[in-house]
């Protein structure tokens, strides 16, 4: 990953356009991932709870634990790759050093929580669904902010 090692992408037009394209793709990924999640598990306490535990009145079965684990397994891979790449670009072109570190840490920690909290909700308490929902939305918001700031800084060095 050349852009992680050199600093001259502001002068390098090819690297600049490559990173711009990458940021656009990551923005699209994050937006459509939220859309997909709203269909797959829901994006409210009620829909996420129904997905996990089912609903007897509506004759909806609970999600099998292996299916939940498959979702978590795939989400972990995508989150780690997207956030590593995004962190590498944003870490180079973002605002002040402190702002970069804070935004990266908030986004990464919330992404980690969004992986762990569904398991806690499944095994310990449905209350963890609130943490799941909040962390899922927060890491997507943080990542979208990182990619928008990176896009802006790439276009206005």
């Amino acid at each position: 990953m050349k852009f992680t090692l050199n600093n001259d992408h502001q002068q390098d037009r090819l690297m600049n356009s490559l990173l711009t394209g990458l940021m656009l793709f990551i923005l699209l990924f994050l937006s459509f991932d939220l859309l997909f999640k709203s269909e797959q598990i829901g994006l409210s306490y009620a829909t996420m709870s129904t997905t996990l535990f089912g609903d007897e009145e509506a004759y909806l079965d609970p999600l099998p634990f292996t299916s939940l684990l498959e979702i978590i397994h795939a989400d972990t891979f995508f989150a780690m790759m997207i956030l590593l790449t995004l962190g590498a670009v944003y870490g180079r072109v973002g605002h002040t050093k402190r702002a970069r570190v804070i935004l990266i840490n908030i986004t990464m920690v919330s992404a980690l929580l969004s992986i762990i909290t569904p398991l806690l909700a499944y095994y310990y308490s449905p209350l963890f669904i609130w943490f799941w929902l909040f962390s899922l939305l927060l890491w997507h918001a943080g990542a979208i902010a990182m990619s928008l700031i990176s896009l802006w800084r790439l276009q206005h060095p």
């Binding site: 992680t4 292996t66 684990l69 891979f77 956030l83 402190r98 970069r100 570190v101 992404a111 992986i115």
Partner: protein, 155 residues
């Protein structure tokens, strides 16, 4: 390496650990970790009323894992360039073993359904090798990222 990137690398290794553990957990739940359960999962079992796995079904698992595992191993091992030279002499053999274990892990089920029963053992050994070496590698990357963060507190 900038401090923001060091953080990203440290988190990457934590995600990697979760990825490996969730994969192992999934394998244990769906298939089981003994030769009998692995054989029964792929070849079907009269007792459990399960059908043998089809080539199509195995491909559905193999194709995404070929891309994901190749990328995961390459990215993880390449972070060893940030580890001091004397502590990364094992990087080349480690990457070869990891890629080989990943390939065997992905393709062993095809050999099992083709009748090569000994590949049940190869599948289990490849999985355990991948898990142990992957966790070992990620631990090195994580501790190195933390060490450099501590020594370059330039936030």
């Amino acid at each position: 390496m900038k401090s923001a990137y060091r953080f990203s690398v440290a988190y990457f290794s934590l995600f990697g650990i979760l990825l490996l553990l969730s994969g192992l957990w999934l394998f244990g739940l769906k298939i089981g970790l003994t030769p009998d359960t692995v054989a029964a999962y792929y070849l079907g079992s009269e007792e459990a009323f399960t059908q043998p796995k089809s080539t199509h079904g195995l491909l559905e698992i193999a194709v995404p894992h070929l891309g994901a595992m190749g990328l995961f191993i390459m990215v993880s091992v390449h972070f060893l360039i940030f580890v001091p030279k004397e502590r990364r002499r094992f990087a080349l053999p480690l990457s070869i073993v990891l890629f080989t274990a990943a390939l065997l892990n992905i393709f062993a089920p095809f050999a099992i359904i083709a009748g090569f029963h000994s590949f049940v053992w190869i599948k289990i050994v490849a999985l355990i090798t991948l898990q142990l070496l992957g966790l070992y590698l990620l631990r090195i990357i994580f501790s190195e990222a933390l060490r450099t963060l501590y020594h370059h507190r330039d936030i």
